[in-house]
Point group: C2
Chain length 355, copies 2
C-alpha cells in the first residue's frame, strides 16, 4: 500500500485476535478504499451501519468507494450517546436478520464513536461473531475510539458496562470527513490529541504548541500529522495491554474525572473532550498537590488547554459519588493517572475516601 | 493434578484465548474442587449462576467446594430453553451490578446447557469480559455444551443467533450430578455420545454396543469412560477449527435436521438428543441414498440408536422450510454431514432445493 498509495499513511495495530491496518489520509483514503478492500477479501455482502445525518452527507460517495461487485446495504441508527444501548443493538440485529446477513457478511461502521462502538459490539455477537471494518468520520473516533478494539453499549447503570474487545479488520480514516464536523465535536477530538501529547508524544506537543490556529482551523496538512501521531501513541499502549489491566490505563489520563463529569451531566451538554479536558486540569492539579509535577509543567499544560479553548470549570459538589463508580477502581481505591512532566505520567491508586 | 488426584481425569483444551482444564470424575471432582481452584487464583469473588432446582439440590454442597476465603454469591435464573434470551441476560447483569461484581470477579455456571450458554455469554460481555468456570450438571453439558467455548442466547427468529466464542477458565464435571437427572435428559446426552462414536471414536462405539444396560442405568464405571472419550473426540475437532468454519462442522452430524425439528417443535417436547437422534437416522438414510454408506453400516447405526431407545419418527411435512434456516448454510446450499462408515463422516453441501 505505501508504494502504490504514497499519500496514505498505514499503521498496523496488533491485537490478540489479528493485526489490522489503519489507513489515514486526506481524500486519498476514500478514493482508494475499493482497491484496498479487494485484496482483503472480506466478504461479498457489506452492511453499513450509520446515522441519517452521515448517510445524507456521504452515502452516494460511500457507495462509490466499495467494489461494484459487492452487495452493499445500509442500516440507519441514532448516533446519540443515550441510544447506545441494548435496544439499538436489537434493532440492528433485527435488520441484519431481515437482510439475511450471515457469519461471512461484513459490517461497516460509518460514523463517530457511538456508531463504531455499537457496530463493533453487534459484529462481536451476531451469530457468534462476524467481520467489521470502520470508517470513522469524527476526529475523536479517528484518533481514539476506532483504534484498540473496545466496543460496547451503555446500561442505565453506567457507560460501556456491556461490551467486548473485538478489533475491526481495517480502519479507513479520511480527513475529508472532518470538514462537515461541528466545531464542538472537532474540539472534542482535539482534547484526546492533547492527551496523547501529554502522556507520551513530545512531537505532538510541539505541533500543538506551535500551530494552534492551523489546527483549530482543521488545516489538512496538520491533520495529516496529528492524527497518525495520535494513533501511534495509542497503539503503543494497547499493544502492551490490550485488555486494559495495566499499561493501557495510562490512556485514561483525564478520564477518571472526565467520565464522572459526563455521568453527572447525564451525557447531555458536555462533549467527551470537554469532560476529559476538565479531567486533565484536575489530574494536573492533583499531581501538583501530590508533589509529583513541577509547577512550570503544570502551567504549560494548563496553558495549552486554554489555547484550544478549554477553560477550567468549578467541579460539581457531588462529583465524588460519580468518581466512586469508576470501572477501573476496586471499591477501595480509584486508579488515577497523574502527570510528572510533559510526556511522562504514572498510574496511582488513591483511596476513594480521599475525595 | 493427575498425580495428586489419581481418580480425576484431566483433559486440557486449547483455544484461541487460553487453554483450560476439564476435570472429570465420580464424586472426586467436587471433593477436590477447592484444592484445584486455589492455585488457579481466579478471583476472590465468585458468583454462581444456577436454577432454583439445582440450587435446592446442591447449593449446600457447592458452598463447601469453594475455598472458605472467597466471597461466594448466587444468582437464580430459569434454565428453560425459552428463557435463554436477552431478557435473562439483562436480569443477570442487573444482579451483577447489584452485587458489585467487577471485571476481576468470576462467574460460575452451575447447571446444564442453558445455564452454561447464558452464563458464558454474560461473562463475555459484562464490563467487556470477566472470567468464568463451569460446573456442568447434565450429561449433555458434560460431553458437549461445556466444552468448546460456544455460548449465546436465542432470539425469537432463531436459536443461538447472538453469542460469542468465549471459553471458560476450567470445567468441573462431576458424574455424581447425573444421578438426579431425569431419564429423558440423561438420554438426551447419550444421543451426543452416540454421535461422537459415529463420527470418530471406535472405542466409544464398542462400549456403547456392548454395555447398553449399564450405560442406560448410569453405572459410574462406564460413565467414567464414555464422558472423557466424548470430550476427547470433541476436543479433536474444536482445536482444529474453533470458530466453526470447517472441521468443527463434523460435530454437526445429526444436527442439520435436529435443529430444524427443535425449531418446528418450538423447543417444547423434543429434547435436543431426541431431535439429533432423528437427525442421525435421517443423515444415515441420506448417506445411503447418495451411495456414500454401505447398507450394513447403516443397519448397525440404526440398531444402536434403537438400543438406546431412539425410535425413528416420520418427518413433519413442512420441515424443509426449517432446514433452510440453518446457520451453516449460505442461502443456496445446506451443509450436511454424511456418514461413510462407523467412525468416518464427510461434510457435503447439498442444494437447498433438493428438500
Amino acid at each position: 500500500m505505501p508504494t502504490i498509495f504514497p499519500k496514505i499513511k498505514k499503521i498496523t495495530v496488533h491485537s490478540h485476535a489479528h493485526s489490522y491496518p489503519v489507513y489515514i489520509g486526506h481524500k486519498t483514503v476514500l478514493e482508494n478504499m475499493s482497491s484496498v478492500l479487494k485484496p482483503l477479501q472480506l466478504s461479498t455482502h457489506f452492511i453499513v451501519v450509520t446515522s441519517s445525518v452521515i448517510s445524507d452527507l456521504y452515502w452516494k460517495k460511500i457507495k462509490m468507494c466499495f467494489p461494484s461487485s459487492v452487495n452493499l446495504e445500509r442500516i440507519l441508527i441514532s448516533d446519540r450517546e443515550k441510544d447506545k444501548n441494548l435496544n439499538t443493538v436489537q434493532k440492528i440485529i433485527g435488520n441484519l436478520l431481515a437482510l439475511k446477513a450471515h457469519r461471512k457478511s461484513c459490517l461497516v461502521a460509518l460514523g463517530g464513536g457511538v456508531i463504531g462502538d455499537i457496530t463493533g459490539f453487534v459484529a462481536s455477537i451476531y451469530m457468534r461473531g462476524m467481520d467489521f471494518i470502520t470508517i470513522p468520520t469524527t476526529l475523536l473516533s479517528q484518533v481514539d475510539s476506532a483504534i484498540g478494539g473496545k466496543c460496547g453499549v451503555n446500561l442505565k447503570e453506567g457507560k460501556n458496562l456491556i461490551g467486548s474487545f473485538y478489533p475491526p479488520k481495517a480502519v479507513f480514516s479520511d480527513i475529508s470527513f472532518l470538514k462537515t464536523l461541528p466545531q464542538k465535536h472537532y474540539r472534542s477530538g482535539l482534547a484526546e490529541v492533547i492527551k496523547y501529547a501529554l502522556i507520551d508524544c513530545p512531537q505532538l506537543w510541539q505541533l500543538l504548541q506551535k500551530h494552534p490556529s492551523e489546527i483549530l482551523k482543521r488545516d489538512p496538512t496538520f491533520l495529516e500529522k496529528i492524527i497518525p501521531l495520535s494513533v501511534q501513541t495509542k497503539k503503543k499502549f494497547i499493544e502492551k495491554d490490550e485488555r486494559d489491566f495495566s499499561k493501557r490505563q495510562i490512556l485514561n489520563f483525564g478520564h477518571t474525572l472526565g467520565h464522572a463529569l459526563e455521568a453527572h451531566d447525564k451525557y447531555r451538554r458536555l462533549t467527551h473532550g470537554e469532560a476529559i479536558a476538565q479531567g486533565m486540569y484536575y489530574a494536573t492539579q492533583l499531581s501538583l498537590q501530590k508533589n509529583i509535577c513541577r509547577p512550570e509543567a503544570a502551567g504549560q499544560i494548563q496553558g495549552l488547554l486554554k489555547k484550544y479553548g478549554f477553560q477550567k470549570q468549578a467541579l460539581p459538589k457531588n462529583i465524588s459519588s460519580y468518581i466512586a463508580r469508576d470501572k477501573k477502581g476496586d471499591h477501595k481505591n480509584i486508579s488515577w493517572v497523574l502527570i510528572e512532566d510533559i510526556g511522562r505520567v504514572q498510574r496511582r491508586p488513591i483511596p476513594l475516601k480521599a475525595f
